[in-house]
Point group: C2
Chain length 226, copies 2
């Protein structure tokens, strides 16, 4: 098991020279730790989560290649763990500029992306039924995968904690989607989308982009002209 101290600045430059290698199910940093650096995924999958007092776990996001996480300035607000074997690039959160230390360059854009990711996560929950959420999740994953096939690298339990469902319901629903010929399963993780449109309908709306053109207009639309 490879371990690392998330805030150990001593051997860290603005960009770590060589990627960090961690194996499946390893801790990266823990909620509450002082935040010394943020990470970019080179390969593999990372999850961030919060452990609640009642024992529940809440998975806030999955991070794939080129995603960044751990951008907090003070303390980390969530725990980060590897889902698969992972290669990470590490950056220090603050760099010396003259006399003061300020957020490192590039972090700003990453923060922007991370925020959008958080919004997507909220968006997933906005879907009412289990079928809605699972279908939306599969579509979201497929956007990060090349070609038609995609791999559900995380466990059913991970998916459940991400969608706020039980792993039973997730399993049932995936089976149901396969039964309806919207997807095809090859083994546990390998999924092939058979009917994208059908999946979007199953997701309860026309996926991303569709929540932009709202048929039910918000208040005050169209805008009053000068």
């Amino acid at each position: 098991l490879i371990t690392l101290y998330p805030c150990d600045d001593s051997d860290v430059r603005v960009t770590a020279p060589s990627p960090l290698r961690l194996e499946k199910d390893s801790p990266i940093y823990h909620e509450g730790d002082p935040a010394g650096c943020w990470y970019e995924v080179v390969s593999g999958v990372v999850r961030t989560c919060r452990y609640l007092a009642n024992g529940q776990r809440h998975l806030t996001a999955f991070y794939y290649a080129d995603d960044a996480f751990g951008l907090d300035l003070g303390c980390y607000q969530e725990t980060a763990e590897t889902v698969t074997d992972v290669l990470l690039r590490r950056h220090t959160t603050r760099v010396n500029v003259g006399t003061e230390r300020r957020p490192s360059p590039g972090r700003d854009d990453m923060l922007e992306k991370a925020w959008e990711k958080a919004r997507q996560s909220i968006f997933l929950f906005g879907h009412k039924t289990a079928a809605n959420r699972v279908a939306a999740f599969i579509l979201a994953v497929s956007e990060r995968s090349e070609a038609a096939g995609l791999e559900l690298l995380m466990s059913r339990s991970d998916i459940a904690d991400h969608l706020n469902l039980t792993l039973h319901t997730v399993s049932r629903t995936i089976s149901e989607l396969a039964r309806r010929k919207l997807i095809a399963l090859h083994g546990r993780q390998s999924v092939r989308i058979l009917d994208v449109e059908g999946l979007r309908i199953a997701a309860g709306d026309a996926d991303r982009g569709a929540d932009r053109l709202s048929p039910s207009a918000p208040i005050g639309c169209p805008w009053p002209t000068a």
Copy 2:
């Protein structure tokens, strides 16, 4: 009705000289509009939401005094509307620095806060039952209010769209909490918390701070020592 164009830079300085006044249920900006400025709440309550294709509305957050919203750089990712009569301070998103335009100072810290707010929103959804969510919501609102009493300035429908429940369930649950003597209602909006501990238990966990000290330790804890 006071109207404004969110991206009208012409009359906007780095910080608008006088606060903007808007009345209840007014649009501030719309999802998809190019983002020209971000806002600070001086007084009142603002909501941000996304309108989904299927007609559902999803309330991503409520903003109170000193909260900032609308920090997107490209286009606004969500719609902002007033919940009550509101006073706003407006800032331009980018300012001229030499030849290039870059994010305005102060925006960084605000982005940090906004992100934390988004996380809280996700956190609310992490609660399983209606009682969990409503109790957690009331506790969250109470943290933004002084003293024991608090005002639910938004409608039941707003709360429902925020917690991903129906307004019926929200209403039922609030009544139930009152019946259990955890809160007391004075009129529709005025709430007094009678039993904070009981509310926290009803929320399903010991509220904020408790999700930091996790009794069910995440993987790899405690940290291996060097």
